[in-house]
Amino acid sequence: MRHRSPDFWSGLALAALGAYIVAQARGWDYLTDDGPGPGFFPLWYGIAILACSAWLVVFGKSPGANWQGAGRALATWGAVALAVTLVKFIGFALAFGAVAFFIVAVMYRRSPAVAALVALCTVAGFYLVFPLALGVALP
């Protein structure tokens, strides 16, 4: 398959979003007795998204992004996403402590002792500042 620019793929994804918006908006009233309905505005920006993304799919040719290092960013995102999912089951301290440990030990290759210290101090700091000092509940 011919190599496509990132604009092609992002344009395609946005075209799908535009099509979804238009399809949804067509199911709602466009005009009512009182004036424009809930479908009026979404229909027009949905069409605009479709038009702009079609332009991007056909004419977009920005050079490919530099994805070197993206693995590190996506791994961090995965850790954060997992942590917010687990907050409900294991609480903020363990979930956030694990993310902090992961960033320090795995991403920045510091020793497990340093990573554990950073994780412990940040979690303790959050408990001191938010629930104790400010009265803000942690997740």
């Binding site: 918006i21 004036g35 009026f40 505005f41 942690l138």
Partner: protein, 504 residues
Amino acid sequence: MDIAAGLLHGFALALQPLNLLWCFVGVLLGTIVGIMPGLGPPATIAMLLPLTALMNPAGAIIMLAGIYYGAKYGGSTTSILLNVPGESASVVTCLDGYAMARKGRAGPALGIAAIASFIAGTVGVLGLMLVAPPLAKLALAFSSPEYFALMSLGLAMVVLLAGKSMVKALLAMLVGLWIAGIGTDVFTSQSRFTFGHMELLSGIDFVVVAIGIFALGEVLANMEAREEPQVLPVPKGLRNLLPTMQDLRDCRFAFAQGSVLGFLVGVLPGAGSTIASFISYGVEKAFSKRRDQFGTGVIEGVAAPEGANNSETGGALVPLLTLGIPGSGTTAILLAALVLWGFKPGPLFIAENPGMFWGLVASMYIGNVMLLVLNLPLVPLFAQVLRTPVYVLYPLIVGISIVGVYAGSGSLFDLYLLAGFGLLGYLMRKLDYPSAPLILGLVLGGAMERALRQSLMMSEGHLSILVSRPISAVMLALALVVLCIPLFSRFNTWRLRAMEQEES
């Protein structure tokens, strides 16, 4: 309330001990945020926004505004010592600031940046104080069609916030409009784009999107690199930081033009402080007797852009507070903050909340003095912030983001959205989609749809109401003109060059 009485009232409010404390906290945080590359004022303000629910609104806006203009002061420190702008508005300061530091003149470069920031920042607040009240009075004649035209003008400014691709900026803005439309339609109670989730019926909180895209997205983008930059040494002692009398004489024109141009550019929504600093640098160079030396460590090359980017802050608050139009990502978040606290920035804002407006103005005068005091003798101390290990900083930002989002809503669902918007923010950076237009669309989307639907109700469905009223017609025509700006190739070439500099 006339200006003198308003200002006195404002100082009475801003000088209250608690508000002075918030002002100090804001400018201190702003300076630190400005110094740290990779953590900008929009991310910081977005992260702190939920926590301001515990404060009184006057103290909260004083603190958040302090972060906004304080970051402009701090941004120059990294430009001069690291050749890495701490803030996009300080990009052009790298050219002569870093060159001065390499010649052993880091002290005077940092000193002149602080002095220029103080002078121009004060002129910017003066401009805000003089221009905002009459402009707000003029805008009192606005009804729904005018508001719709105003929002259209605000959204048209997207062409100025666009990066390399106008189409991508438009798409980002349209996605912002879509996100703003998620939830229950206020006119008909129809639920829209909720994907069957009860949690989405009340819409997506602006704070979740802002923190996800700015704070989390920025952390993810910064996580790509492992190396930490090297800092040039800062001279110790106040005497070594002060510019000479000759330096000050050389910068007279830079102080004046930076102050005026910065304010004027700031008033134009969408132009922003980066563009203000580039224009001011260009004007300084064009009129300088030693223009061929610019880029090799000329002190006016530091004073002009640093002055302009500080004066721009006062200008940017004019359309925000009088018309409800934010011109940048940061002012969009400030707008959302005001709305969250129950205020309605727009023509009635000053009349209905004189204490808030004049208190903010007075706090900015005080904040600029605080910043001068902080940034001259304490620069060596602030430079130590640059030595904070990133492996400590990034987990902190992630933690504050999570707590900030949860504190606002108490909903775990919002944390999932936060992770989603964090990924979106990162992908937007990688794929060259500017994030400011998305925030602009998100902030203005709901109000724009309301204004359009109310206008069409008034006219029983006739679109002609939008062009038959003079103010509305003029603003729509202006929006059209702004949208056509990219067609003027000379302007576009210049704009793209500024954007490329910002990226490098």
